[in-house]
């Protein structure tokens, strides 16, 4: 039983970490690597810093038209 509870807690914790990483955008680079491996096999993907810079440059030129209230 205690093992069961521990497993559930661990599961919940992994879920929380997954959610936070996804919603904060931290997981984005990982997704990029997956896509890259699938779509351009054999090529070298950008490093994390390069990817973040490219993403920033893209966002600067494609502003999100949303505005909240």
């Amino acid at each position: 039983m205690p093992g069961d509870i521990a497993e559930r807690l661990a599961h919940a914790w992994r879920g929380i970490v997954w959610y936070l990483r996804e919603i904060s955008g931290e997981a984005r680079y990982g997704h990029y690597l997956e896509h890259f491996a699938a779509e351009h096999p054999g090529e070298n993907p950008m490093s994390e810093v390069e990817y973040l810079r490219a993403r920033e440059a893209y966002d600067r030129l494609h502003p999100n038209t949303s505005c909240c209230c």
């Binding site: 959610y19 920033e56 505005c67």
Partner: protein, 799 residues
């Protein structure tokens, strides 16, 4: 290896057993490759479910009955949570589902823009639960925290009805349907869709309207923040310090830990809490406090300079880190508050309807309940701005069509819930305190007969406010004349209820401010209510000042984020508009630096000018600004409904056209009546203007009074002109829409021939529809992964 297999967990634990019941098997949608890519929406009833929904319906009806009929007795604020949540549940399960089946006719066999385009940037499939959070963070802001506070002068019942019924039949419907039409059109924006569906002219109207409206919304929200910060060294210091905090966060993420967003956010949050505590020390040292005691005008200048700097500096340094903090505060504080209300279990002090509900002279907004209550509470019930968000990033990221209900309708329900919490904050403090806080100095002077200005001492202000409250005929929930009372503790820490001027001074000292009199705009009231809930379980009475300033920080962060984003968005929109002129084509290029500076200046000047006029107004500016903000926001909502109606008509769903038309007609009735009254008649801006004109012409005014009158005169004229502009623009837009619908029906051609909807593309992807996957969806998920592996293996074998 195909692209999809990289993301699908290997079968193993997820072994597919083919255990569908016949009814389930009939609902699974398969594409031409045999991949199960969706589940047909269907309401499956079991007796347990029927019982559960019957129970929800009974609880909902009881809750409404209690709120509607209780007279002269105390009711618990928890009932508001019960009524809201049960109504939302029923609406989501039944009405939103009905719209999904009858109008959206979502089909999981069809690929969404994320799957069609899939460019690795904005068009990126995003998990539905993550997208729900992102969409909510996109639509929510300070708006729903302001309207319900101001509307509380009329009692809780009209506001509660409008917030809940409004969101169910209008606000959430708008958000969901705009998301739907945009997702069917490759995530195009409102302006682009209006051009495609209603012609270039319609698109142009909507684009111009959006720029003006963005400027007004920013000016209004900034005014709310400034009203809370003016003359408060604690708030000015702690909010000012968010700039260095953001810089630290930005550099940390840039140079030390690239890409570690969660860590950076936690670091920022810890600094933020320390910062709020430090604000208290600053405020307690008179010499230092003086440095941070700024007037509203000084704050406007600071805000304009700041936002210009924010636009010029790289985003990673200032704007992005503050976005992180703002998102964390949005979601975290909402949870803290709900728990706080349940633990504090505050009782409602305001009756369902006050005497002010039947008049038009209330202090927080003037005008009759219809239409002005419905435009004062804009966000939280119906907000046109959400149309812009729903046609922004979200439709480009949604995985499956069936998820649109959960993301579009669901997020807006949460937004409405925020408005309910703001309402609870306003109605659980004593009405005397509420009116003392929400009347401008000029209103207090007029009602009490004692002249009060910003330079009066706190005790003079408190005395005058009590007199003003006594002079108003407004009953409390027990039917007696309202009083100024404040529940607190005495020197020995025993519970004590203070009354009269003493109550106002005690309240101010409890929250760490000099005075709470005439702190209009709603932020102060909201923060007092929030501090009451949070101290009940986090820190006790002594923590009240901290929580008050935490709440002010919460609102200010929202607002600063809105101002930053709004300036940026307005800048691009202005650039695009200028770029349409042949000689100014260069402005359309967002990388052209001089163009950037000029468009940023125009955008800042637009809202900065409005804001300056707002703070210069003797009546506090909120009173004049609320209607113009509410009307423009609701008119934008009307435009969204017109666009949706045109799209639905072009699909030929005549029988269900009432779903968008019902809120459209209501919204037009509200906004056009309000706008008319603001242009003609006793409430109009022009009447106000001529009053000030006469005062100035009489030559009796001098010094500060003269400056105030001139500011108010300019303000009234500008607001009047804006009202006319709105009425004309939206009048034309609605006519264009009606003509479009009439032409469609006259031609009798529907569907693919007439709409700009993208043609069907087969989906290769599966994801569940709701927040929690059903057992059938779990089975389909297993089959999907198993089939993908089979397909991949056979492909490899073939190769």
């Amino acid at each position: 290896m195909t692209e999809a297999t990289a993301q699908v967990p290997a079968p193993g634990k997820l072994e597919f057993k083919d255990d569908y019941t016949p009814a389930e098997a009939a609902r699974v949608i398969r594409n031409s490759k045999g991949l199960p890519v969706g589940v047909r929406p269907k309401m499956v009833w079991t007796w347990q479910k029927a019982l559960l929904w019957a129970a929800v319906a009974i609880v909902c009806a009881c809750g409404w009955a209690i709120l509607a009929v209780s007279r002269g007795e105390q009711i618990s604020a928890i009932w508001f949570l019960v009524v809201a949540l049960s109504s939302y549940a029923i609406a989501y399960r039944f009405y939103a589902y009905y719209i999904q089946i009858k109008i959206m006719r979502t089909d999981d066999a069809n690929a969404t823009p994320a799957e069609r385009v899939h460019d690795g940037a904005n068009f990126e499939r995003t998990d539905r639960r993550v997208l729900f959070g992102q969409h909510f963070a996109g639509i929510s802001g300070a708006g729903p925290l302001v309207g319900p506070i101001l509307a509380a002068q009329m009692g809780y019942l009209p506001s509660t009805l409008w917030i809940i019924l409004g969101v169910i039949f209008a606000g959430a419907v708008q958000d969901m349907l705009v998301l739907w039409i945009s997702a069917k059109r490759r995530g195009r924006s409102l302006g682009q869709m209006a051009s495609d569906e209603m012609g270039k002219f319609g698109g142009m109207i909507l684009s111009v309207f959006l720029v003006v409206m963005t400027a007004i919304a920013m000016a209004f929200l900034a005014l709310v923040a400034i009203k809370a910060m003016a003359a408060s060294p604690w708030a000015v210091f702690s909010i000012g310090m968010t700039i260095p905090i953001a810089l630290i966060m930005g550099c940390y993420q840039r140079f030390l830990r690239p890409g570690r967003v969660i860590e950076t956010t936690l670091l920022g949050f810890v600094l933020l809490v320390l910062d709020i505590v430090a604000g208290g020390w600053i405020a307690s040292i008179p010499a230092v406090a003086e440095v941070f005691t700024l007037t509203a005008q000084q704050l406007v200048i600071a805000l304009v300079i700041y936002s210009f700097a924010a636009a010029a500096l790289p985003h990673w340094l200032l704007v992005t880190p503050r976005d992180y903090l703002s998102t964390l505060m949005k979601i975290g504080t909402l949870v803290l508050l709900v728990v706080g209300i349940i633990i504090a279990n505050p009782s409602v002090k305001v009756p369902g309807l006050t005497e002010l509900a039947s008049g038009s002279t209330g202090p927080t907004f003037s005008g009759n309940l219809f239409p002005f209550l419905f435009i004062t509470i804009a966000c939280g019930a119906l907000s046109g701005f959400h149309g812009a968000v729903s046609s922004g990033l979200t439709p480009k990221a949604v995985e499956k069509e069936n998820q649109i209900r959960m993301i579009g309708y669901g997020s807006m329900l949460v937004e409405s819930f925020t408005a309910i919490i703001a309402l609870i904050a306003a109605i659980t403090i004593s009405q005397g305190v509420y009116f003392s806080t929400n009347m401008s100095a000029a209103q207090i002077s007029a009602a009490s007969g004692v002249s009060v200005t910003a330079t009066s001492t706190p005790s003079e202000q408190a005395e005058a406010a009590v007199k003003a409250v006594d002079s108003m005929t407004v009953s409390d929930i027990e039917g007696n004349q309202m009083k100024v009372t404040w529940d607190s503790v005495d020197e020995n820490g025993d519970a004590k209820t203070y009354e009269g001027a003493e109550a106002l001074e005690k309240a101010a000292s409890d929250i760490g401010e000099k005075t709470i009199v005439s702190r209009t705009g709603g932020a102060t009231t909201f923060a007092m209510g929030m501090a009451n809930f949070l101290k009940s379980y986090l820190g006790g009475h002594d923590s009240m000042a901290f929580w008050y300033h935490f709440a002010i920080m919460f609102e200010a962060l929202f607002i600063l984020t809105t101002v930053d984003n709004g300036t940026r968005v307005a800048r691009y929109q202005i650039g695009e508009m200028l770029g349409n002129v042949r000689k100014l084509r260069k402005f359309a290029d967002p990388t052209w630096k001089p163009g950037n500076i000029i468009t940023t200046m125009i955008a800042t000047a637009l809202w900065g000018g409005l804001l300056w006029m707002g703070v210069s107004d003797a009546n506090g500016g909120i009173n004049a600004m609320v209607p113009i903000f509410g009307i423009s926001n609701q008119l934008l909502a009307a435009a969204c409904f017109v666009l949706v109606t045109v799209c639905v008509a072009k699909l030929g769903y005549k029988k269900y056209l009432w779903i968008p038309v019902l809120p459209l007609v209501w919204d037009i009735a509200v906004t056009f009546t309000a706008d008319f009254q603001k242009i003609f008649g006793p409430l109009s801006y022009f009447t106000v203007a001529s009053k000030y004109q006469a005062q100035i012409a009489s030559g009796e005014l001098s010094g500060e009074a003269l400056t105030n009158a001139q500011a108010a005169l300019n303000n009234a004229y500008l607001d009047g002109v804006l009202s006319v502009f709105f009425l004309v623009m939206m009048g034309i837009f609605v006519i264009v829409g009606v003509v479009c619908v009439a032409r469609t029906f006259a031609a009798g051609k529907f569907g693919a021939e007439t709409t700009s909807e993208e043609p069907f593309v087969e989906s290769q992807w599966f994801a569940p529809s709701g927040l929690i996957a059903t057992s059938l969806e779990k089975k389909v998920q297993r089959e999907y992964s198993a089939k993908l592996h089979e397909l991949a293996q056979s492909e490899q074998a073939a190769a």
